[in-house]
Symmetry: C2
Subunit: 413 residues, 2 copies
Amino acid sequence: MATIDWLTRAQRISQRLERLAEITDEPGRLTRTLLSPAMTQATRLAGRWMEEAGLQISSDFIGNLIGQTPGASGKQVFLIGSHLDTVRDAGRFDGALGVVLGIELADIFRSGSDLPFSLWVAAFSDEEGVRFQTAYLGSRAFCGLLHQEDLEVSNREGSLRALLAAGQSQIDLPTGVVSGNQLLAYFEVHIEQGPVLEDRNLPVGVVTAIAGQSRFRFNWTGKAAHAGTTPIPLRRDALLGAARFALQVENACTRFPGLVATVGELNVSPNVSNVVPAQITHSLDVRHQDDFVRAAAVAWLGNEADHIAAERKLSLERLTVQETASVACDQKLTGELAAASKFVTGASLELPSGAGHDAVILSQLCPVAMLFVRCRDGLSHHPDEFVQLADIETALRTVAKFIERLGRAEGGT
Amino acid sequence: MATIDWLTRAQRISQRLERLAEITDEPGRLTRTLLSPAMTQATRLAGRWMEEAGLQISSDFIGNLIGQTPGASGKQVFLIGSHLDTVRDAGRFDGALGVVLGIELADIFRSGSDLPFSLWVAAFSDEEGVRFQTAYLGSRAFCGLLHQEDLEVSNREGSLRALLAAGQSQIDLPTGVVSGNQLLAYFEVHIEQGPVLEDRNLPVGVVTAIAGQSRFRFNWTGKAAHAGTTPIPLRRDALLGAARFALQVENACTRFPGLVATVGELNVSPNVSNVVPAQITHSLDVRHQDDFVRAAAVAWLGNEADHIAAERKLSLERLTVQETASVACDQKLTGELAAASKFVTGASLELPSGAGHDAVILSQLCPVAMLFVRCRDGLSHHPDEFVQLADIETALRTVAKFIERLGRAEGGT
């Protein structure tokens, strides 16, 4: 690979991301959702780039695009991918970077290379879940993990089934494009969407796991009272209970290292300046890469909440909204990726992913690994989302080295 | 006064309050606002009761109703009053109790009594300020404290001036129905609107002062960040700063005895469960009967807020919304009232009023005093607002004794 012009290739990735960012369902801002006109157009463009990289393309009923290495039917598949859909008013790197960088790698290792596996690229059609508020429809369909009942999800326009079938009552769901046996691994390059790499001054980071997540809704009930006429000892102020708890949520993150927990949404009732708050509802989001630590933290927080409620004579309801187990990245793959990072950048930082990615779904079929790329200010899901050209180049070199090492490890020459 | 049938009189007060409660601008719930049809009707009814009690009635341009003792022009005036307007969906005691109880007292001490002062009753037309969000329009007009520019307040229907004048450009504002010299005192009976009397198991309480009030708007700005990908040390969570401050507000009420301080309204932005809160705006309401203590508490809270903001790298804006000085009740009147309470009930509790009342305005003309009557659960501004018949009777006896004592003190026989 001595003759590769990395900068030129990084520039092409950057230009392609700009072109994709122009393809939107909402003029003036970037929004591409499952099966929308902009998604169809963006997928077609990515398909052309895949073909230019020597891949054979195909797409499925839900709009996933797959580029396969031709004439390598006996080999296992090393799948590189990410998603082409976006949130509303998105940045241009989230998802698209992984797809376009994957295509560039397919071009670098194009057929005729001596890799002992087949390098495929996937562009999933729905990761963000904007259209139906159901994430991962694309990768779930690809993995054969989408069921008939999943097609009943609906929005104001109607159900997913109706969108797919335009009236047909039965849709044949493929059992998956590839079986788990065929897949050697799934690998995803993604922007970090957080500030850790920037804080450590590193261009890339090796993902150890995708954190498990618990989400709750808390409801504290005290008693409304006149703010001028009710002495403090006679109050049952729900806001003070919730405030105390929010600070204990922060304390939990010190008590349980690696824990990330947040009260992000909080609503006060009646929310009037001269009335003691009667009721607070708020969210609680708890994440950790180790499910046991997360469970221990959730239990500790539950005790703290009960204690606060008893002390302040508040009643407390807790509703579990979501429980998602963590997904560990494959240790062997992660080790090779870390070695590649060290070779290219001189350093290797391992960090968990606090956000979900298509790798969560693919992990049900095969080993997964991920590389994070530094993004400015940790900002994502925002038009100002930005990755430096130099970091794209570093990511490309790191992944190329990673594939090269894997090829050797898997018995290539 | 040995022959007075207190229970029958208390029952009449109760029945009259029920009749007034039927007169509303909103079918199905009690709402009477300045110069509305229901206000006009309620004022007319109260006027009839005043005439039955031997008073001569008059009303002014803003709808205040005054009942004067006839033929006592040389004497100073002891004015008993309260307001007939209500909040929306009100209870039937707030305001009306003081008016109807005042009329009953006028009947008890009707002309021909040997009091050395003239007993007048006032029914003010706007204390709650619902129609123009400007409290005390009634008593301010009565005291000659309403100015031409005050008539420019407006709501969706138009200005107060337009409502009063129906097109006239100039309105003659009287300089006040009575001058300060003529007024011996203003006295108001009002429900407590708080839980203290109920907590102490007492039917009535003697008001020492109407608390001064400071109102602020706080604005904490941190930085929005992904709740899954941003480690705690890299966050600037505005909610945690505001939560810490809310708990310090509670602590201030211990540190400064008698302080009543509340964060009642709080709004989070962007208020999404998986985003670290970037901005919090909240109210702060601080009350104390001693203006110096209130100022000290406000200064302490300001320091605490600055400290929290610095520690958490939040920016903080503070806007003063309102500063109202406390109004002390007259010590001599309060002493006589306490003696009357002790005589009738065997006990006398002095307490500050955390809410504002017409007495705040009247205090600019003459000494003021107030008696609080226990209300169930401390509840007010609500259809379930309730005062027991026995407590109405106790209040009536207490005030009658109070007037009797005052008459003696002022040189009556």
